[in-house]
């Protein structure tokens, strides 16, 4: 079935390509040319909103916490599929509870035949985890297919968590240094504030949705970091260029011009990334579901907003472009608007 659909879509693309190459397609403009939105004025609303949301996210983090997956918490995770076609969760729960392994969670996963079993970390070190998984295998026997078994000992989970956190910090610092090197320090700082804001909000999202927080979440966070910055850098590049060109334009106007002139690009790029992520979210299977969901939230929802409403306007407060007139006496007169 899927193959016929794919072939059909391939043919559609071929036809579209020929039509497009011949110049017969109408032009699709998502964003009209020459927009003049006053984005920087919106900072009086966006900054308090972001501050409030960040506080909510941090509060959530401390009250609800994150749902640590076994990477960071240790313990055992089994994904099993009933050979009969439907898993009898109640019966499985009874037989697993009888093993005396402490907290055992069972959860339907995907179809009715799939069950995710989580066994809390056993006291007694690494060997005890191995015994636990042996017991579970013994109790469920051959009635199920073991699709995935993961056992993470107490020491490894601690290390993975430490590694993940160190990695996150390392990435932030490395990017900060790079930006400092490429731009002025105000830009680096502005990008960093925007970034931490993104990560805080995404962590708030993970806390509220209680998706598993594991190594792939760290991967998602780092990707969000990268792409959100990607966007910010595009706008900053433009701001820098405008600063060089229009020496006397007031900062808020200059920022608005920069954001507006890159707006079309920002929206189109986010649209294509959203399309790619949507495909992963809908068809990529549950193994990467939380991974893509987190990225969707971070890259698409937060990232775009941040670069336009936080990263750029914050430069006003960081004093970018304040001393331009002093530095260049023979500045070319600023044009009112870009033609």
């Amino acid at each position: 079935m899927t193959h016929t659909v794919l072939i059909g879509l391939g043919v559609l693309i071929a036809i579209l390509t020929v039509v497009a190459a011949l110049g017969l397609l109408p032009s699709l403009r998502i964003v009209p040319d020459n927009t003049h939105f006053d984005f920087t004025r919106f900072r009086r609303i966006s900054f308090p909103i972001s501050a409030a949301l960040s506080i909510v996210a941090i509060t959530l983090f401390f009250t609800h916490g994150l749902n640590f997956g076994i990477d960071f918490r240790g313990g055992t995770l089994l994904e099993v599929q009933a050979k009969s076609g439907t898993a009898d969760i109640a019966a499985m729960r009874t037989s697993l509870d009888a093993l005396g392994l402490g907290e055992v969670q069972l959860q339907q996963f995907g179809g009715p035949e799939n069950v995710l079993i989580r066994v809390a970390e056993q006291p007694g070190g690494d060997a005890a985890q191995q015994e636990a998984v042996q017991k579970v295998r013994g109790a469920l026997g051959d009635t199920v297919e073991y699709r995935r078994v993961e056992v993470v000992g107490p020491r490894v989970s601690g290390e993975l968590l430490a590694y993940g956190m160190i990695g996150l910090m390392l990435a932030i610092v490395a990017i900060l240094i790079y930006l400092w090197f490429r731009f002025e320090w105000q830009f680096a700082l502005g990008a960093m504030i925007a970034n931490v804001h993104d990560i805080v909000l995404t962590i708030g999202f993970m806390s509220i949705s209680q998706v598993d927080f594991d190594l792939t979440s760290i991967a998602a966070l780092l990707t969000i970091l990268g792409y959100s910055l990607n966007d910010t850098v595009v706008i900053y590049d433009r701001i820098r260029e405008m600063l060089r060109r229009y020496k006397k334009m007031p900062m808020p106007q200059l920022l608005n011009e920069s954001i507006n002139s890159t707006l079309s690009r920002s929206i189109i790029t986010h649209f294509t990334v959203t399309l790619a992520l949507l495909a992963l979210l809908l068809f990529g299977g549950h193994a990467i579901h939380s991974f893509t969901a987190v990225m969707m939230f971070g890259v698409v929802l937060v990232g775009t907003y941040t670069s336009i409403f936080i990263a750029a306007p914050i430069l006003i407060y960081l004093g970018v472009g304040e001393h331009r007139e002093d530095a260049v006496e023979t500045a070319t007169p600023a044009k009112k608007n870009r033609p």
Partner: protein
Amino acid sequence: MLYFTRWRALGIILTALIVCLCAVPNFFPEAQVKTWPAWAQRRLVLGLDLQGGSYLLLEVDSNYVKKEKLDQIRDDVRRVLREAKIGYTGLSSKGDAVEVRVKDTDLQNALAKLRDLSQPLGGLLGSNGQRSLEVSDAGGGLIRLTVPQAAITERVRQTIEQSIQIVERRVNQLGTVEPVIQRQGTDRILVQVPGLQDPTRLKELLGKTAKMEFRMVDASVPPDQAQKGSLPPESELLMSASSPKVPYVVKKQVLVSGGDLTDAQPGFDQRTGEPIVSFKFNTSGARKFAQATQENVGLPFAIVLDNEVISAPVIREPITGGQGQISGSFTVQSANDLAILLRAGALPAPLTVIEERTVGPGLGQDSIEKGELAAYVGSIMVIVFMLLTYRLFGVFANIAVAINVAMIFGLLSLLNATLTLPGIAGIVLTVGIAVDSNVLIYERIREELRGGRNAISAIDAGFKRALATILDSNITTFIAAAVLFYIGTGPVRGFAVTLGIGIITTVFTAFTLTRLIVAWWVRWKRPQSVPI
């Protein structure tokens, strides 16, 4: 920006073509690729989450290594002092050190003799002044021998080196395809076995040190009496391997050890039909075994494996051929496993499984199918969107993205990289991101056109200004990918690899191919307006 010399254009196309061609071996069956020349054999490796298999992380017990080291030092001290005929008291190991007390008159002599035990670390070459043992005078005739941390670390490192070889031999006995065994950090071994569904047997094989010893049974004390405490100093109490556990009193002295075995094979006893393990000694083992059996005809000896008695047969006649067999309530499987362990040799220290991840083949296949579907759907949506938005230039962008993806696969194959499910997600994401470079260029061209430039000058300026931005913005993501590669393992690392390579190919195509395509179009069409 739009002018390419003929050689430059050729160079760009050749580079892209060669990198794309590196992906070709992936489309042929593995058996066929094996017959190709070695340089053409590089291909993508599917991660364990896609092809199914087991991942085990083993850790050597460094406390055990330390204790062994201290025990050995204690034995050395005893031997040295006896040879030097120095009287001593209170020889014991305490914490990180071995302590012994000698008379004041013997102190200097004893210190000098014991200092000979200490050696520079790392052999004569590469020695950094660290020594394997520090001998100090603790006052009052007390000598303290401490093992510096560096010496213990060195010892753990050696233990891991030896263990890896033995682990390798044991894993290879499972008959699986291309297992990966690597050292990880200072005290860990990573074992990856593709296709292995149930690692229980693997863990059993790796969980035993398999230290095999032939010793005499001490018949002077009945076991039940020994259990109450009257154990001769030269003997110890060991339990049988089979259940119910039966105690044996066994002499500490080892007649022959497993290190002297040259071969071990599973088989069946010709009379009883029971599973057995037959073994062969090397020359020195055969000589020692012959001598011991000659001296002890009619007495029982014990075959001890990891401090458990497998069997304790009575020596009926001297065994001089250097061959023998072990029988002791084996199943076919356990006889087979024991033979494997004996052939592979004993581990110098026990290994513990500290992390295990196993994916069944069903889930792996599902993941491949879902990843492929998501990749197709994502690409198609992006391609159609680009066509609708940029029309002819959308065609250019799509050509660049298609070459980009082919180059990602080419580079991944060239690096023999591992493709994981998050890795596939990374490629899909790259498709979404790769068009960004085109979007940046095209939007800039539009802007320059609005600014009143003519077609060719607008295209030229669009490329010039956008490329700097493309480089800046991609480097940030590349830094994130590099960090992720460094901290991540398994599937996450796969994501970092595809993301990082995707960025490299994206920047390459933006700077060269997209530009080249547009340059050709400009030269061919001499456009007055840009249909963008």
